[in-house]
Amino acid sequence: MSIEKLSNAQIAWRAAQDIEDGAYVNLGIGFPEMVAKYQPEGREAIFHTENGVLGFGDAPAEGQEDWDLINAGKKPITLKPGAAFFHHADSFAMVRGGHLDVAILGAFQVAQNGDLANWRLGSKGVPAVGGAMDLVHGAKRVAVITEHVTKDGKPKLVEKCTFPLTGVGCITRVYTSLAVVDIEDGRFILREKLKSISMDDLQKHTGAPLHIDKECGDLVVPENGL
């Protein structure tokens, strides 16, 4: 079954619209890093990376990399004016002390009570957690960006996570390829959905009841090719 859905770039764009001017933001490694590209004009966010940099900018041009200047994903970065370096304990003091305004993470599953599973799919292979379990407790707002369903069509928004948890009750908003969903009082509250999908279809692709608080808006993003 094929449904119209947002590209990763479009999901990232939508998430970027909610980042306020002057916000301190941590973007998880991988897909969430795309969010930085879509900061609305006129707003300035300050990006934090776990390995001790605040205020980093775009990747350097090829050949201009300085491997002492990297982000948590070990990718080369550049600095913006007003940047600062600090050690790992200070960096995670920023995280665990709740000094970040927004953290945006990827997910395997998000449960209706805000539980997140994003670090491990089972007990096989080499486990690796990095800063994921810190970041879920680290920001005033912890959001997830994700496909609405897995590659084989299973819901990623679920009643209860079946994969190992990253954190308990920590996610407040999910941006998916089909919808924007808040988590409040142990329930999914549908805030926006693509116009092209019916409420029934969206519910079928969601593993727990979607509630509507007053109204559900249209999820509108720029054309693909962002």
Binding site: D21, G22, Y24, E44, I46, H48, L54, G55, L79, K80, P81, G82, A83, A84, F85, F86, A89, D90, F92, A93, M94, V95, R96, G97, G98, H99, L100, H137, G138
Partner: protein, 245 residues
Amino acid sequence: MDKSIASLSEAISDISDGSVLMIGGFGGSGAPIELIHALIDRFVATGSPKNLTVVNNNAGNGKIGIAAMIDVGMVKKMICSFPRTSDPRAFTDKYLTGEIELELVPQGTLAERIRAAGAGTPAFYTPTSYGTELAEGKDVKEFEGRPYVMELWLKADFAIVKAEIGDTHGNLKYRLASRNFNPLMCMAAHQSIAQVGELKTAGDIDPEHVHTPGIFVDGVVEVADAKQEEAMIRAGEEYQATGAT
């Protein structure tokens, strides 16, 4: 992003009745004397903020700064390690008559409790104060055969500190030994305000030389000709309300 604030009075305008207020400095080194006096001006003029809980290593010296706050009656409680100074009269008088409360905390525990608040650590264990009256009523736990006391984080609503250089992103650099409690207090307070000798544009402080990253600072006000508290005390200066009643 521009965290600069135009005036001292604006910088301290959010501080409200009953707040927990951390005040930076150790002795006169790092003490934000102009911010303190602006706060007293406001209290003298408006009666607010009152009933403050003030966190500082000491409890005021002479007739300026925290001592003057105590004298005008805006402080309900001091949390400090050493409420004695060369001239501790302001605190001593009110303490002995029961007009001001005291929570006495060992200096290292005070520093670490403040850092813990900033780092999201609600409690930690320390050897300090074990077996003393300052550990009474506190949890004790043994690790590797040695007893430790559990201490709780110490959070604040506001912090006011002094730095040598600040920038529009709130990054701070301190002069000599005036760093002391200031970086920790900026971490621990809901709103942190720094008075700086020089306010620069973001990018003008070497990122490797930043002592307090801007994420911990909410507002920066330039006081180019700031006085040094210790020098004022030695000169016999007294707080004087600026124009206000």
